[in-house]
Every structure is written in structure tokens, then in C-alpha cells.
Symmetry: C2
DNA sequence: AATGAGAGTCCAATGCACTGAACAGAAACC
DNA sequence: GGTTTCTGTTCAGTGCATTGGACTCTCATT
């Protein structure tokens, strides 16, 4: 945490930014979310954001007033209102409801750990998790972010993008985050897999984020003009994973994806 | 939705409000979260908030820029960033992690549906849910809000408050929200239960929010000076519920509460 | 076509939110 | 005790964000 980023009106190059206080307030939330302990003092935040303490004080008062942050003694932390707003977002996505319904009734998936995720830049965010049979106890929670290169859903979702976008997001020499010895290490390695994923219609992750764990994922056709990129995945233990079981799970995932893509549910 | 509330600097009576743009931006999020469809146009929002369209436009641009809202054609909706921030909040609460760990290992609770919630005004917000044996398929999700009068956790949490606070929050003649024939209907009825809850150390909900379902809840001792009011609850089917089973579950809930209240986990 | 009601955008004038510097309190150091 | 280095708060001046009204565009209705 050495770098100090300045959030000024001039930040958005190419145009003057409206409501700079809002932009800065959002930056406060980001900094709190990214901070190790989740608790920072006014001065910490002012330093981190590169804005005067007096201005920061005003921002924090307004944010606290709106319950978006809480004051804990001298420290500030994210507020419970954010959980509530996040839940409000999810409650509007009826894919989530349909996802649960489908998982409960699917012959194989109903006994597995299934997740639905959406693409957000070069990460995926998990929207819901179904745990039919918690053989695999996941550490990831709803709302958690994961680099696309490290999970099957991530790979299957970026496989939908155009090559020139991919080239921009993942230059050949880009160093990817590494979590296990099997993690993909460069943009080139990642892009090399995509053609294969496109032709077979699903993606696989083989111990790339967690040793001993494999994932299969399928992309959900975008419903409507403004929908996000969604994908569904199953997580299984490598030790008990078999080819036939994998094929069955992919088939059910594909049916789930079709169901979610269809506006009637 | 007839009433139009005006969000001006003078809103916070008793003092001028700093960073009014932030206060208004938070109001935008609230309105979107509260709206039926979750999608409103710029003009809708301007009307609802009682601020000029041009100002609203600026707010929305800034919010969109921060990913806190998304534009879907002419409509605006809550953004995925809120889910992410909500998850960041939860990830910092280590009570949640400990809650899961405890539930998995507890003899009885590990096979039940258990939740942890926190008090937020006259509502509780669910922070996590453990589903050991999904006999009871809950419709509530993490981040969902519930009036305290309708659930066991709510009742056990307000039982900790002082009488004068209770008198203010729940006047005798206050009409409470009703979801089943057994729901408590007035502030007086709610307060009448509290003395009993205090003396027995746990609260029960008997088909007050969902017919056929009972809940037991215990309050978690507040850890540290600035901690929120937390409670844990089990949900069971009334049909299969027995006295002995209830006693066992209360005992385990109390142990869970002690564990969570203890700073070492 | 013509009209009206809705949407969102634009821009100059202006009033208020931001800020810098000075201030005060707490804690840590020598 | 004195000094330094934190913390957060206060306030008057000023520069920029806000805003009202005019504008454009789209879509129904007559």
C-alpha cells in the first residue's frame, strides 16, 4: 500500500466529472473494501485517496449518515446497508431463483456443489451457490470475486468475447495471478485454451485454483439486450471425479443454462 | 408510491449536511432498492427524490461510473458492485466464519437450518445461513431484512434493549406487519413477550412468519465495544418438532452464542 | 400532420460545498 | 515536562457543482 491515488475531478480523463463527491464516496467504499483489516481512520482514508482531511471528514459524515459506513471508535468500516443493497440487487435477478429451483430437481446436480457467476471485467462474481451434498466445502461466498483465469466459469465466459477485446484484456505476456502449480501463468496460455472451450461448449478447471478440486462450467445465453454474462459451474473432488460423471454434469449444466437463458424461466 | 420525498440540504434538521451529493446518491440507491421492479428512469428518480432532472442526471452518471448502478436502456438499476461491497462487509465479520465452523461440528445443529442475524433498527438482517439438512427450504437469503416482531431472532435481540428505547420503537398501539394468523399485531403484544424471553434466555417463534414453521433463537453477547447485536436461530418444521429436540437445539445455540461472543473464536 | 407527453441533454449564471491553514486533544517518545 | 506526531474539527473565502429553463428526440394519440 505505497501508492497514493488521487481522486480529483480530472481523474476521468476526457471529460469533466459530475458529482465528484459521489465519485469520491465510491472510492472510499472501494478503499475500505480493499483494505486488509477493513478498518481505516479518517486520516488513513484522506492519505490513501489523496484528498484533504476536511473534505474526507465531510464525505465520511455523509456516508455514515446513509449507513453505508459505520464509525467504530476512531475507525471507519463498511456498513450493513451494503449487504442489504447487495441482497436487493440479487433479489431482482430471477436467474438466481430459477437456478436454485433447477438444481434441486436435477438428477445429478442436485447432489453436487453448483454455482452461478457473472463476468465483471477480468473477474467473475459469484451470485449464488447451491450445495446439494457438501462433499466439497467451498471457501468462496456469494459476492466474492475471482480472476477469470483461475476458474472454469471465468474461462467459459471470456470465451464468448471477441478476439480483439481478449487481446486487450489479456496481452500474451500478461502475468496472471497464480494459486496452485497448475494455475495458468500468462495471457497467452489462457487464450490458447479458448478455441477448444468454444468448440466443446464447456470449460474445465483442473486444480488451477485449489489442489484436489476440479470444476466444469457452461455459459448461459444472454437474456434480453442488457443482461450480464452469466455462467454456471459444478465443483467436484478430483479424487472421485470420473469421465462419465463429468459428461452427465455437463449435460445437466447445459440444460440449466438453456433454462436460464429462456425468458420464461 | 404517491409521496414524493425531497432530499435537500435541509433534510437533516438541526445541522447543514455535508456532501449533499453523497446523501442524494445514497437516496437513489435506497429508492432503487425499494422500487417494485428495481428499474427506474432518470425522470422517475428525479420525481421520487424531488430533485431536478439535470442534477439527477449528474448523480446517475457518477453512480454509473462507480458501477454502483447500471444503465439498462432508459432504465437504471442497482449495480453488481453492491454485491461485491456487501460481500466485503461480510468477509470482515469473522463471526460468520466461526458460525459455519460451529454448525458443521455441532451434533444436532449440523443437521438443521441455522442462521445468524444482526439487529438493524426494527428489523433484523440475515448475515449467513447454514443448511445442514434442507428439510425446511427457506425463502430468505443473506442480506434479507425481516421485521423483528416476526421472527425469533428479532425478539431475542430487542429483548436486550432498555425499556425506554422499546417504548419509543414500539408504542403499545403500534400496528405490526402481519404475515400469518399467529403474527403479533401490536407493540404491546410484542413487549409482553420480552420479559419471558429475558428470563428463559431464548425466544421462540411459533408459525408467526410462516405457517408450519417454528424458530428458536438466542442472543450473542456483544464482542468488543463497537460490535453489532447478533443473534443465532434454528428453523424447524412444526410437524416434526418436539420438546426435547427444542431443548437440545437451544443448548447448542447457547454454546454457539458463547463461542461467537468470545473474542478468540 | 399536428399535437402533447414523455424521455434525456445542454449550458450560463450563481450560490454553496470544498478546502487550506490554523486549532485542539491524545498518545508516544526522549 | 517538553516535544513530536498523530488524531479529527473548525471556518471564511472562492471556485466549481448545481440547476432552471430551453432544447432535442421518441413515441402515442388525435
Amino acid at each position: 500500500m505505497v501508492e497514493t491515488r488521487t481522486v480529483r475531478a480530472s481523474e476521468n480523463l476526457g471529460g469533466t466529472s459530475p458529482a465528484p463527491a459521489v465519485t469520491r464516496a465510491a472510492a472510499v467504499l472501494d478503499v475500505l473494501a480493499a483494505s486488509q483489516s477493513g478498518r481505516l481512520t479518517l486520516s488513513d482514508l484522506a492519505r490513501e485517496l489523496g484528498i484533504p482531511k476536511s473534505s474526507t471528514s465531510n464525505l465520511l459524515l455523509a456516508l455514515e449518515d446513509a449507513d453505508l459506513i459505520t464509525r467504530q471508535g476512531a475507525d471507519f468500516a463498511l456498513g450493513i446497508k451494503l449487504v442489504e443493497l447487495g441482497a436487493a440487487y440479487l433479489s431482482r435477478r430471477d436467474e438466481v431463483r430459477e437456478f436454485y429451483r433447477f438444481c434441486e430437481e436435477a438428477p445429478t446436480l442436485s447432489r453436487e456443489t453448483v454455482r452461478i457467476a457473472m463476468l465483471d471485467g477480468t473477474n467473475v462474481i459469484y451470485l449464488a451457490r447451491y450445495e446439494g451434498h457438501p462433499a466439497v466445502r467451498l471457501t468462496s461466498n456469494i459476492g466474492d470475486k475471482m480472476p477469470v483465469s483461475l476458474c472454469a466459469v471465468g474461462k467459459v465466459l471470456i470465451a464468448r468475447l471477441h478476439d480483439h477485446d481478449l487481446a486487450e484484456m489479456f496481452p500474451d505476456d500478461l502475468e496472471l495471478p497464480v494459486m496452485t502449480p497448475k494455475s495458468l501463468r500468462t495471457g497467452a496460455a489462457l487464450k490458447a485454451q479458448l478455441q477448444n472451450i468454444r468448440s466443446q461448449g464447456y470449460a474445465m478447471e483442473d486444480e488451477e485454483s485449489t489442489t484436489g478440486v476440479v470444476c466444469l462450467a457452461v455459459s448461459v445465453p444472454t437474456r434480453g439486450a442488457h443482461g450480464p454474462s452469466l455462467g454456471v459451474s459444478v465443483t467436484a473432488l478430483k479424487a472421485t471425479y470420473s469421465q462419465e460423471q463429468g459428461e452427465q454434469m455437463v449435460a445437466e449444466l447445459q440444460e440449466l443454462a438453456r433454462t436460464l437463458g429462456n425468458p420464461m424461466g
